[in-house]
Amino acid sequence: MSTHAEAAIHEAWSSHAYDRAFSLMAQHYASDFYRTALRIVLDHATAQDVVQDASVKMWRALPKFKGDSKFSTWAYRIVVNEALGALRKSKNILRSLEGVDIGVPDSPHFEADRLLADLYRALANLPERQRLTFQLRYFDDKPYSEISEILGTSVGGLKANYHHAVERIKMEMRELNPDYDFESNE
């Protein structure tokens, strides 16, 4: 999210033009919300539903936004929470289906080589906090301070989560890809 877009949303919001603020947020964020949701729920239709349901919560809460964080941070928090809720509902169903590649997103918008697919499989074996921390840090390049606001975890805790996640992913990736030189490609 660019600083310019964040400023435009804030300007609309502060003048109580909530529909414009929301519209700007949708235009700038919709795909990022979907990507974040898909990486958590791993299913295209569910990710779309998450974006829509999270949007309803954002719209309803927009007048009460306190302005103490970036809109993107506030919105990501809602999307992540909505996605986690959807994941808990769908997990048992997904795991009972035959032919489901656990951990790899099932979406027409997802395309990966073997290494990336293996990374997702390794991520699926991580505890929830480690997985979320790794995704927001590694894929989205978000600073720890922002991840802290999104997940409600201390920066110190996040750094520990990320460290443990990386170590475990390395271990699993080496087992899955013994011919790959991870040290020179990190």
Partner: protein, 115 residues
């Protein structure tokens, strides 16, 4: 094997992005918190009306008494009336409320109650 990068493999094409935007925009059909009074704020408004009625009662008791409390009388103040109302020990029937309010005030009260 390709070098691993931070690309997460998810690419949302423009038409899919617009579809997501459209999905998000359907939220605008719903009311916002704060735009429509919540049930809590309606209850608060009704409580304020009832508190006003309780205060009127207290003033009425004061005006129609001889102005000085005796040992057998309870000295009713607005604060005391409000405490009694908050404690749920004061109830007013429609007839009692009607007797205390003029027509416009009564209409306003009914409008607030049915909002």
């Amino acid at each position: 094997m390709n070098k691993m990068n931070k690309y997460d493999g998810i690419h949302v094409p423009p038409e899919a992005h617009q579809d997501l935007v459209a999905r998000m925009m359907t939220a605008l059909d719903l009311p916002q918190q704060g735009a429509v009074p919540s049930s809590r704020s309606r209850i608060r408004a009704i409580s304020l009306w009832a508190a006003s009625v309780a205060a009127l009662l207290a003033v009425g008791l004061f005006l129609f008494s001889d102005g000085s409390p005796t040992e057998s009388e309870v000295w009713v103040t607005e604060d005391l009336a409000w405490e009694v109302f908050q404690a749920g020990e004061l109830e007013l029937s429609v007839d009692e409320a009607a007797a205390l309010l003029d027509e416009s005030e009564l209409n306003q009260l009914l409008a607030d109650l049915t909002y």
